[in-house]
């Protein structure tokens, strides 16, 4: 059977606009033609993504090291036992959680505010939209460099503003033990706001307009309308974007690598920075892979919570 006849035939059986897989769909999947279309993407995915992931998980149970991979031995759960007693790793894990929550929550609140403003008929809306896109389009490395210039103790604009306002001399934000983590969190919030804003704007477009007007006619105030009309419609998008943001933030690397490289004294050493050093500075591939597994495990739990929350919210709509 040729590719052309196979696909056309099956399309006629397929209900337009999707729906449950019919006979046509079943047939198309078995046909050689479809595989011909799918394989160019599927092979690289399997060979360079799924395969390495499984290989990576397997490495976590070995003593693999850079430079002597041939004599790698299975060590069972030894890496995980070592991790359990690795205070530095748990420190970095804790920092990762603080960072992920510290970025995700303000990011969401600020993005929600901006999305609500942008959905209003305001004059400088286009400018705000354009500006909100900038952090998204910038390389993370540049975002990090840019904020280092802002935070620069002498020549930076932040300390100069503080001096101008008579609030003191300012400080070296990125190298201060107490200020480093809050300082990088602020950058994380700034850098991640656009995606969240765009996603929430999409959710707002879903809000039923008639309901809004009806509620306004009934005399509902802005807050009440938000709570009873906007939020229920926004909830699914809000849940998925916060869950994704949390995961992305927890796994982030470049921003903090450029800003502080984990310093001062490990106060901003996110798990990814820790695992990167373990793997590519000290060559401990097996141990670093085990760290990755622990990170995935925690993320899976969070994903599960998110899914449960999302299912629970389904009845609202």
């Amino acid at each position: 059977m040729t590719l052309a006849s196979a696909t056309v035939q099956s399309e006629r059986h397929d209900p337009p606009g999707g729906g449950p897989p019919g006979k046509g769909a079943a047939r198309i999947n078995r046909s050689a033609g479809t595989w011909f279309l799918v394989l160019p993407a599927l092979i690289p995915i399997l060979v360079l993504s799924v395969g390495p992931l499984l290989y990576g998980i397997a490495l976590a149970f070995t003593d693999a090291q850079s430079g002597r991979t041939r004599s790698t031995q299975w060590t069972g759960v030894l890496n995980f036992q070592d991790l359990l007693h690795d205070g530095l790793f748990w420190d970095s894990f804790r920092i990762g959680l603080v960072w992920a929550v510290g970025v995700t929550v303000p990011q969401f609140v600020l993005a929600l505010g901006l999305a609500l403003l942008l959905s209003q008929n305001l004059r400088m809306r286009w400018l705000a939209r354009a500006l909100a896109i900038i952090p998204w389009a910038m390389p993370e490395v540049v975002v990090g460099i840019m904020w280092r210039l802002v935070y620069n103790p002498d020549a930076g604009i932040l300390n100069e503003t503080i001096r101008d306002l008579g609030l003191g001399d300012g400080r070296d934000w990125l190298t201060g033990l107490a200020t480093a983590l809050p300082a990088v969190i602020l950058v994380g919030v700034w850098a991640g706001m656009p995606q969240t804003t765009v996603a929430l704007l999409a959710g707002l477009q879903n809000t039923p307009h008639e309901l809004h007007e009806a509620a306004a006619l009934d005399g509902a105030g802005a807050w009440r309308r938000f709570r009873t009309v906007t939020w229920p419609a926004l909830r699914p998008v809000a849940l998925s974007i916060t869950a994704l943001n949390f995961i992305w933030n927890f796994n982030s690397f470049a921003l903090v690598y450029v800003l502080t490289n984990g310093g001062p004294g490990g106060r901003t050493r996110l798990p990814m920075l820790f695992a990167y050093e373990e793997a590519f500075r000290y060559g401990q591939f097996g141990y670093a892979a085990a760290m990755g597994c622990v990170m995935v495990a925690v993320i899976s739990v969070i994903l599960a919570v998110y899914l449960v929350g999302r299912l629970g919210g389904g009845e609202d709509r």
């Binding site: 006849s5 696909t7 056309v8 399309e11 397929d14 337009p16 606009g17 449950p20 897989p21 198309i28 999947n29 799918v38 160019p40 993407a41 690289p44 995915i45 993504s49 799924v50 395969g51 390495p52 992931l53 290989y55 998980i57 490495l59 693999a64 505010g113 305001l122 400088m124 809306r125 705000a128 354009a130 500006l131 896109i133 389009a137 390389p139 993370e140 490395v141 540049v142 460099i145 840019m146 280092r148 210039l149 604009i157 001096r163 700034w190 995606q195 765009v198 999409a202 477009q205 879903n206 802005a222 796994n251 470049a254 450029v258 990814m272 695992a275 990167y276 591939f285 892979a289 990170m295």
Partner: protein, 279 residues
């Protein structure tokens, strides 16, 4: 609501919007300002927003200090190749996934979500070993392979949305008129899909152009490194860095992705919105 409270609310909205504008813009304005400042102004203890004596010296110095042109060429090769290859192999799969609901499309969507959740370190260690075995460490080809696979989930995600936006009825009509399957694809579907394919390729280009982690791990020698990696060489060991050239180089590195992003912004956000709302 009385006109008066409505007026107050409006004013409040404008104040809030202004705060957002300042918050979003000020680091970027500062970057540009620093890039055009001469050395004495950069050393001043009372920096100003606007350079008093704007200069291009920092740009010249940046090119002298680091191999920026070569790094930009490397980034360009990697990003263009990744963008084109990703779209060429993803489009057929996206077409099948969009037109025929099946276990394959469910698996593809699931994989898009899962692939977002994995910490790259779990992927890069085995990839490093595989690429080392293939002698592709410290080569752009190795990096391009990684970028293609890395941008595939999102490329598929976007393309599936674009294919769904082409009504199947159009294809059916062409088939009824006696057009062959290939003919239908080429003369009916492809033209409608083209803008989406271009947007997807450009998006893959931007993500590859901006990417740092894989490039840092896979590229060892300065001649092979991409722009983001070379930018970090401007940062001194102890945080001491040459601010002017650093700002100039960072500003230049951002321009391509900013310009392209401005061009396809609506399509990307549109595609993302469709995905976010429908899923």
């Amino acid at each position: 609501m009385s006109p008066r409270t409505r007026g107050t609310a409006r004013a409040g909205q404008y104040v809030a919007l202004l705060c957002y504008l300042v918050f979003l813009a000020f680091p970027f304005v500062w970057l540009i300002s620093t890039a055009f400042k001469p050395a004495p102004e950069l050393g001043s203890l009372h920096p100003t927003w606007i350079p008093q004596h704007p200069t291009l010296d920092n740009f010249r110095a940046a090119f002298d200090e680091q191999p920026l042109l070569r790094a930009a060429a490397n980034s360009l090769i990697a990003a263009v190749s990744a963008g084109i290859i990703a779209v060429v192999i993803a489009t057929p799969m996206a077409y099948v996934t969009a037109r025929h609901r099946s276990r394959l499309s469910t698996a593809a969507t699931g994989w898009v979500v899962v692939s977002q959740a994995f910490p790259f370190v779990l992927l890069i260690i085995p990839l490093f070993l595989v690429l080392k075995y293939l002698h592709l460490i410290n080569t752009l080809w190795g990096l391009i392979m990684v970028y293609v696979v890395w941008s595939l989930p999102f490329a598929l995600w976007m393309l599936v949305g674009y294919v769904r936006a082409v009504p199947p009825e159009l294809e059916e009509a062409a088939a009824v008129d006696g057009a062959s399957r290939l003919r239908t694809l080429v003369s009916v579907t492809a033209p409608l899909l083209a803008p989406g394919i271009v947007a997807t390729a450009l998006f893959a280009f931007i993500t590859a152009w901006n990417e740092f982690f894989f490039a840092l791990v896979l590229l060892k020698t300065p001649e092979k490194q991409t722009l983001p990696v070379v930018l970090t060489h401007f940062l001194g060991a102890e945080g001491a860095s040459d601010l002017g050239p650093l700002a100039a180089a960072a500003f230049l590195a951002t321009l391509p992705s900013l310009v392209l992003f401005a061009v396809i912004q609506r399509r990307i956000t549109g595609g993302m919105l469709a995905g976010a709302v429908k899923s």
